[in-house]
């Protein structure tokens, strides 16, 4: 806490105990998977298989033709049955490829592994581009893009913080594959061409910290360090993590201050791709929240329907009228009105909460949103500008910088949807920018 700024973060009860001690459940869909053909807005997709084709785990299914092209690989083996429109966690219905599972679940090598220790930087970037790996932190940004220009980068940060309440998928995944994780970190270190790698882990997970430290020691690695970070939200946000670990600030992207941040799970995917030639097929997903009878982590193929997973793990609680189904954690995840959505590549949790809400009261101007905002914004002032419908003020007050972490709503004692007010300001500003 400094004099002119508040704490810019807040401890939130993690509720991780609901899922972090139980074993991961390995589930398979009974009949079909639906692989979303969606990679950001206005992205076109080129299909590489025809209806009726037999595909295997690792068969390349499609290429997306957006600004940053990403290939898609099959997560199961079976017969490709064509595309269908289904609800998607982008809130709009999207095309999904339907694959009917066969019994064998045969895998093929998606691509040739690479001798990453001796590969050149260009080859390695090209390799990662070909693997179709996207950031596992939630935003789903293609991983290779971050490593295209690394001249000014001096630090790589591996984000294993997982600050969202309820979610334990990353924790489980790294606990299960510490060796692959450390290999992935080494590959990313080589990609970033840096001497210093910091792995951020919450200090409330000493088992994970020790496990990774032992693994680093076993391989005699230098320049890779595990750092315990405080259990506050949004410590897993890039900006807060960079502030905590290297005490730097930046305007838009971490690259501006010489830092690349990647998620722990991304490192594991990179290691698997480089060493075994495997594309991302399965995913650790936390199914948690008070709305579920038996919260647990599951390991499922990409494209499995959420409704089917909920059914297989024991269903939701029954004595209520309605629930909230959140794709992601309760803070940044979005509520879905349909459980027909499927597990996508960057999704790491489904949180189901009771549908209760405290009524909002008048703002008492306590300033908690201002002192807790990790971006240093003043949400109460932005909300005022929204009330006045003054776009110039919204811009001046920095509404566009908002990362929508939701902390302002969380801390508000008057139970006002502060984040939504800031989102309104962002929408107003974006509409204005589009008109020009």
């Amino acid at each position: 806490m400094s004099l002119l700024l508040g704490p810019m973060c807040q401890h939130i009860p993690g509720k991780k105990g609901l899922t972090d001690h139980s074993d991961v459940k390995r589930l398979m869909p009974a009949k079909e998977v639906y692989i979303p053909l969606f990679a950001g807005n206005n992205s076109e997709v080129e299909l590489l298989v025809n209806e009726g084709d037999h595909v295997y785990i690792g068969t390349r299914l499609a290429n997306t033709k957006s600004a940053f092209p990403v290939p898609l690989y099959s997560s199961v083996s079976g017969i490709y049955k064509g595309t269908v429109k289904r609800p998607h966690n982008s809130l709009k219905p999207q095309l999904h490829m339907v694959i009917e599972l066969d019994e064998d679940q045969e895998a093929v090598q998606a691509f040739e592994p690479i001798d990453w220790e001796n590969a050149s930087h260009e080859d390695l970037v090209e390799f990662v581009k070909n693997t179709g790996i996207i950031g596992q932190g939630g935003a789903g940004f293609p991983t290779y893009v971050k490593y295209q220009k690394v001249e000014n980068i001096d630090t790589l940060i591996i984000n294993a913080v997982e600050c969202e309440p309820y979610i334990t998928a990353d924790y489980k995944c790294v606990m299960d594959y510490p060796e692959q994780f450390v290999h992935g970190v080494r590959i990313l270190k080589k990609l970033a061409q840096v001497d210093r790698v910091l792995i951020g882990v919450k200090k409330t997970h000493p088992d994970l910290i020790n496990l990774v430290r032992d693994e680093i020691k076993r391989e005699n690695l230098v320049g890779i360090e595990v750092v315990a970070v405080p259990d506050v939200y949004p410590m897993g946000g890039e900006r807060t993590l960079i502030r905590q670990l290297v005490k730097r600030e930046y305007k838009r992207l971490p690259g501006e201050c010489g830092v690349i941040v990647n998620n722990a799970n991304t490192a594991i995917l990179v290691a698997r791709a480089a060493e075994m030639g495997q594309a991302q097929a399965k995913k650790y997903v936390t199914f948690s929240g008070e709305g579920l009878k038996y919260p647990t982590n599951v390991l499922v193929p990409i494209g499995m329907s959420v409704a089917e997973i909920i059914e297989q793990i024991g269903g939701t609680i029954e004595d209520v009228q309605s629930l909230k189904l959140i794709s992601g954690g309760p803070m940044m995840g979005r509520t879905m009105v349909s459980d027909q959505i499927v597990i996508d590549r960057a999704m790491n949790a489904i949180t189901i909460l009771k549908d209760e809400e405290e009524p909002a009261m008048t703002c008492l101007r306590c300033g908690r949103c201002t002192s807790h905002c990790p971006m240093g914004l003043q949400p109460v002032r932005i909300a005022n500008a929204v009330k006045m419908n003054d776009a110039a003020e919204m811009e001046k007050r920095g509404a566009m910088n908002c990362i929508e972490c939701g902390l302002c709503t969380y801390v508000c004692p008057s139970h006002i949807q502060v984040t939504e007010n800031v989102r309104k300001a962002k929408r107003t500003l974006m509409m204005k920018a589009n008109k020009k």
Binding site: L3, T335, T351, L353, E358, T370, R397
Partner: protein, 384 residues
């Protein structure tokens, strides 16, 4: 299962405005009870009861005003009363008034505080001025004669302002002042006459620490308010050459005297921190508190009023919107501007010391009670 839509985030802390106000009410009542106990033991049980009667009158007026407001706005009376927290205003207002005030004066003051100070602006959360301060200003301006004769001894603030012009320069002068008010000890403990709640310096500070820990008030406001008063008066003591007292240098005892006499601790902890009327950003709050401190000391030393806390709060309240818009924008980007504003306010505060030191003549000799005329002013003198 039906899944409902809701904007994210879907998690909210257990904090609530009700909880904040409950903590604040508890804090205020602790001080109020201490005051009732002190007045009952020092002046008799009927004086202690008078405080309770005043509070009851004020609370009833508040609830009546809010009920009428609710009816006019066609809202549920219960909702309006429980969501506007008028009782906090009532308690603060009563605690700012001296014991001698008549119940009808407090009723009218409460009416102004609630109806004019708050409801006319739109109710809780919309008022510009601290409503309790508005009510107190009404009493001060219009009801200075409306007093009973329950407590007739002069208050430390009155004596210090009247006989010593807020500047006892020598050991003898301070000695003669302390003789009449019971020494530093009673000033700290609050066992002196004054406004009902303002004298209990140490107790109020303890309550303040509790409120800061509970997240009810921002530590920056009382710290910078009282800190600035300390610095200004410290500089004044150095500039005018206030003499040591029993070995304690003048630049220490004189600022302490300023802090524990009068209502600055009460004002700094309970009134300036009112979130509705203070700026929302930490930088704005620091600026706000420093300016309020400068105005307080200026009124004390150079104004006609014995105390400056009340008006410093009201004056700074009207600057709140301006401070807010001056400090709009991402806080990390406007940091420089914020430091510049705070530096300006600090210079302004020091100017008060220089101005006062160059124009004031301190009291050098002892002042005997019999020589006093000033103290016979109406007993509503110790404006917070």
């Amino acid at each position: 299962m039906k899944y409902t839509f809701h904007v994210s985030p879907n998690l909210q802390s257990k904090n609530s405005t009700q909880q904040i106000m409950r903590d604040l009410t508890i804090g205020l009542l602790v001080v109020f009870v201490a005051s009732v106990i002190y007045y009952s033991t020092a002046f008799g049980i009927n004086v202690g009861l008078q405080a309770v009667i005043l509070l009851a009158c004020s609370l009833v007026t508040t609830f009546v005003c809010e009920a009428v407001f609710a009816k006019l706005k066609k809202k549920s009376v219960k909702d309006v009363i429980t969501h506007s927290f008028g009782w906090v205003t009532s308690i603060i207002l009563v605690m700012m008034c001296p014991m001698n005030i008549t119940p009808y004066a407090i009723i009218i003051a409460t009416f102004f505080a609630i109806a004019v100070g708050r409801l006319m602006f739109g109710g809780f959360g919309y008022n510009i001025f601290n409503p309790a301060a508005v009510g107190r200003a009404v009493i001060f301006a219009s009801f200075s004669g409306a007093t009973t004769r329950l407590v007739t001894s002069a208050t430390p603030t009155g004596i210090l302002a009247g006989s010593f012009k807020w500047l006892p320069m020598t050991e003898v002068a301070l000695e003669s002042y302390l003789d009449r008010v019971g020494g530093f000890g009673s000033l700290f403990l609050g066992t002196t006459p004054g406004a009902i709640g303002e004298t209990f310096s140490i107790l109020i500070l303890l309550v303040g620490v509790f409120l800061v820990l509970r997240g009810v008030i921002d530590w920056r406001i009382p710290t910078f308010y009282l800190g600035t008063i300390f610095v200004i008066t410290c500089a004044l003591a150095l500039l005018t050459g206030v003499q040591p007292y029993h070995g304690i240098p003048g630049w220490i005892w004189y600022p302490v005297l300023h802090l524990i006499t009068g209502g600055v601790i009460f004002g700094g902890v309970f009134m300036l921190t009112d979130p509705v009327t203070a700026p929302t950003s930490p930088a704005g709050r620091i600026f706000f508190a420093i300016c309020a401190a400068a105005i307080t000391v200026l009124i004390r030393l150079k104004g006609n009023l014995p105390e400056g806390c009340l008006y410093s709060i009201l004056i700074m309240n009207c600057f709140t919107p301006m401070i807010e818009s001056a400090l709009d924008g991402p806080q990390l980007e406007i940091k420089k501007k914020a430091w510049f504003m705070i530096a300006c306010s600090a210079v302004l505060a020091l100017c008060v010391s220089f101005y006062a030191s160059s124009t004031m003549k301190g009291v050098k000799g002892p002042v005997k009670k019999t020589a006093q005329v000033v103290e016979v002013v109406p007993c509503v003198e110790e404006v917070l």
